[in-house]
Structures are given as C-alpha cells and as structure tokens.
C-alpha cells in the first residue's frame, strides 16, 4: 500500500481513494529502521481511510503516536499495512474529478491523456 499513499489527483491533488479488486497478503521481513524513516512521508489520514475502504483487519490509531520510534506495536502495524498488503488489481480514484487510475499487476498507471495536461 506504500505506493498508493504517495500518489495524488491530477488537478488539486487530493489523496486518491483505493478500490481494490485483488489484494495479496505477502510476508516481508520487518526492517524497523526503514519503517521509522518512511513514516514522516506517509499521509496518515489517507492511509487510515484506505485501510478502512479495503476492509483490512488492522487497527491504526486515529492519530499517529507522538513517540513513534518507541512504539513498537505501531511500527509493526505500519509495516504490515504499508508493505504486506499488495494491491494487485484495482483503481485509484480522484475524489474531486472521479478520474480513475487503473492498477494492474500491482503497477498503477499514472499516464495522463493529452487533455489532462495543462
């Protein structure tokens, strides 16, 4: 789910909604340092919303804990959510324009049409 969190809509850049047709659960070695390093980059509210939309059985607190580095449980949950759920097939949808970016074989297609490029 890491990739989908860093993509945004074409015009105003709202976080994209995820519609998943096929989600794969994979096992990835836990790298605490890596998770700590990428957390500042994550749009947390969008991530929580995505976890909710996808109906994943993971619980993320409403707001990120203050001392993230010390919170092992939180880091492990973030690891699971960001790296162990792979959206194989689905769509990323811009909430403002309804524009859909397809995801196929885990690769989001962010190619824009001529008309969309300002």
């Amino acid at each position: 789910m890491l990739t989908s969190n860093i993509l945004k809509g074409v015009t105003r850049g709202f976080p994209l909604k995820i519609k998943a047709d096929k989600v794969e659960n994979v096992s990835v070695d836990y790298n605490r340092d890596f998770i700590t390093r990428i957390i500042p980059r994550i749009e947390y509210d969008a991530l929580r919303a995505a976890v909710n939309d996808l109906g994943l059985n993971e619980s993320l607190p409403e707001t990120m804990p203050e001392a993230v580095q010390q919170d092992d449980e939180f880091l492990k949950t973030m690891h699971k959510v960001l790296l162990e759920y792979e959206i194989e097939e689905g769509e990323l949808i811009c909430p403002e324009t309804g524009r859909k970016f397809p995801i196929s074989k885990g690769i989001p297609n962010m190619l824009l049409q001529e008309t969309e490029v300002s």
Partner: protein
Amino acid sequence: MKLKELESHLSNVENFSNAKEYLEQYMTTPHLAARMIYTAQTQYDDIESRSLIDLGIGTGMLSIASCLLNADHVFGFDCDLDALGLCQLNIKEFELESSIDLIQADLRRMSLPIDLNRIKADTVIMNPPFGTKPFSTSTENQDELCLSGIDMHFLNYARQLAQHSIYSLHKTSTRDHIYKKAKDWNMKIDVLAVLQFDIPKLEKKRPNRKISTASNAPLKSIEVDFIRFEIKDNADD
C-alpha cells in the same frame, strides 16, 4: 559485496527482447551498472540504507544493483508497460518484490499525478534517454518521443525528487549546458567518469530501406559523462 561479484549477479538481469526504438530502450550493461552503483556507495555512501528513485527503470538493472548493495527501497518509473513487465520478471528473479515498487508514468510531462514532496528519496539514479534523434517537422509525431534534450526533463524531475544526490548519464557534448543547469538549480556537480557508449543508431525511416530495430541497428559510439549531482542545502551557501 565486491565489484566483480556485483557485476556477476547482474549478468542474470534479462534484456529487452523487443526494445522500442522510439523510446531509446536498451539495457544498462551489468559492467556499467555495477560500477555506477558501487561508486555511489563506496565513495559517497548514497546507496546502503537509502531510499531511491529510478527514473526510466527499464530492465531494472540499476535498481537491482542498488538493492544488492542494500538500498532500503526503490520507486521505479517507466512509461512503457512492456518494459515494466520485463522489470517485474527481473525483480522476481532477484526476489526483490518488497524492495522495488513500480509506477507507470510519462516523465516528459510537466506535471504528474504524484506528490513529489512525499515521494522524495535520498538518492535518484538514472540512465535517461538522450534524445539523439533531432527534432524534424517531417517525421511522424509518435516516433519522435525521445527528442533532443529529453534527458534534461528527467534531470528536472530528479532534482525535485532527490533529497540528497542524483547519479545520471548525459552526453559529454552537452556538458556545458549541464553545468549551467546545475548552477541554475543550485546543485553541486561532479563528472565522475567519461565513458564510451554504444547505443543502437536509430535511423530515419525511408521508403525502400530496411528498417533497423534497436537489436540489429548499427551501433553508434558516443561519449557519455557519468555525473553525480548533489542538492545543496541553502545553509551551505
């Protein structure tokens, strides 16, 4: 891992079977990729435990080399679905599925539906198309995708996506222009090596002439600079 060992591992990266001329597709050789990434790590500590972005990932050669030298993670971009498919095969071969994430996007566009700020990586690596085909009004639009100067588009994205440094290749003949751009963009620049590059010579299509594909085209030898750019902290000035 030693340089020779890295190069040896990279010989398992599969090449394009139907490289597209108009996208200037060719595999970065294991020899070159190993040296680029090995230098980036041993001389500058820019690979191990770092987050990376690969612009124009192609076969995945540079990203795979980086992961073999323990980069944390790579976001790889390419506009071509076939290249991305090949890249996925290579990623699978090296068991790096959780380390390299792919995105299909066109880097010739001025704006992308991607939050550049959040995707920012420590290091950007790339072997961009050079755009060796000069612009000509007589050729069809869709063939002229890799126009002269396209590597500057890539570099422009690189400088917005890199937290710290960029490793790239550019024609030696454009070096003065590159220096000027680096200055405009407030980047430190170091030409680390000058290489002799053989890229498939892409011919203009003419009637009654056998059209060469990238794989059987005569090779054109050009001088290429291997360059490291460093994003300057405003405080350093």
